[in-house]
Symmetry: C2
Subunit: 191 residues, 2 copies
Amino acid sequence: MARPRKFDADAAVEAAMETFWTKGYTGTSTEDLLAETGMLRGSLYNAFGSKRGLFELALHRYRDKGAAGQNAIQADRPPLERIRRLMLSGVDRAAADRRGCLAVNTVTELASVDPELAALARRCLTQLEAVLVEAIEDGRAQGEIRADRPARLLARQVMGTFHGLLVQAKAGYDRQSLHETVEAVVADLRA
Amino acid sequence: MARPRKFDADAAVEAAMETFWTKGYTGTSTEDLLAETGMLRGSLYNAFGSKRGLFELALHRYRDKGAAGQNAIQADRPPLERIRRLMLSGVDRAAADRRGCLAVNTVTELASVDPELAALARRCLTQLEAVLVEAIEDGRAQGEIRADRPARLLARQVMGTFHGLLVQAKAGYDRQSLHETVEAVVADLRA
DNA sequence: AGAGTTTTTGACTGATCCATCAACAACGGA
DNA sequence: TCCGTTGTTGATGGATCAGTCAAAAACTCT
């Protein structure tokens, strides 16, 4: 009933996500977005409304992809090993291109400037926290993980170190020392 | 032998630091800097050369103030308590205004865009790491802190969690749960 | 008082920012 | 085939960006 779109909206959001991830929200210009998505100005605004609107979509996509990745690791491995792999893969990816984590980047960039977007990013963090809590409770049921503290507290602790590692990855700390820290965290989790 | 300056260069750098801290590097306009320092365009450029130059000065100042703050805690308290207070005060400040830590903010904002500035910020982090290593070695000598791991590794671990907490503080996690995590980290450090 | 030096002042530059718009194009349904 | 709808295209808008400049001003030294 109308002219069909030339571009793939999904691919465009994906490209936008990558760009925001690399350059940050403020650091990404609409020109950058046009170049990366291959769209023209009018089309982009017609489809997504504004730079901010596109960023929201990108954040949602990031959260969804994160959830998918977290589930991919689940498999049938023991919980502690799941946590270990989660952190190792996250750290590796953050260190590889020095881009860190989009959610963490967004929170640090926008918390005191755009609380609404920051809250959106925060949901990515709480999602990870939930995954961790679940894994920890699993591991505790199996006697693999220490039970002297609430699972939520342990999860916060692990997540804290994890986010700190992402920052260190961006700061250029070498992969090996990041991995050592991960192993130390895992060791401290053991019952 | 020349016209005297009307403004206090130190106060100007201080004001600039606060502004960058709140709004980030890209997010701070020269107009913002003029408003906060009370200077006029030409004066600011005459004195500091560029926005980037002023930012470098602000980062140096941040590092110096950080060092001063870290030393202020030293006192004669036991090492573990020093670490505890260091983290608590850092977390409190980060949570109070949701600005986090200027060094962490800078690393996450600029690592993939301006490596030179990111490296400057990184030095703030390694300074803190050095302080931690020292405190841990002290505590170990007194039998207060566990000795089953290299002090540097423990320091990285503590620093990681600390930076993660700063992110969580920006994300709006409540003070109490941040404090609980600090206590958990301290407990895990004990011999 | 005059020369020399640095700062202040505010207007100005060109680039880039995000966003809008009208004209045109491509489709489905009547 | 013609109409309603939606997408594309590229020019254009005003705002803001970081940074420059020439002229006037405030000081010291001679």
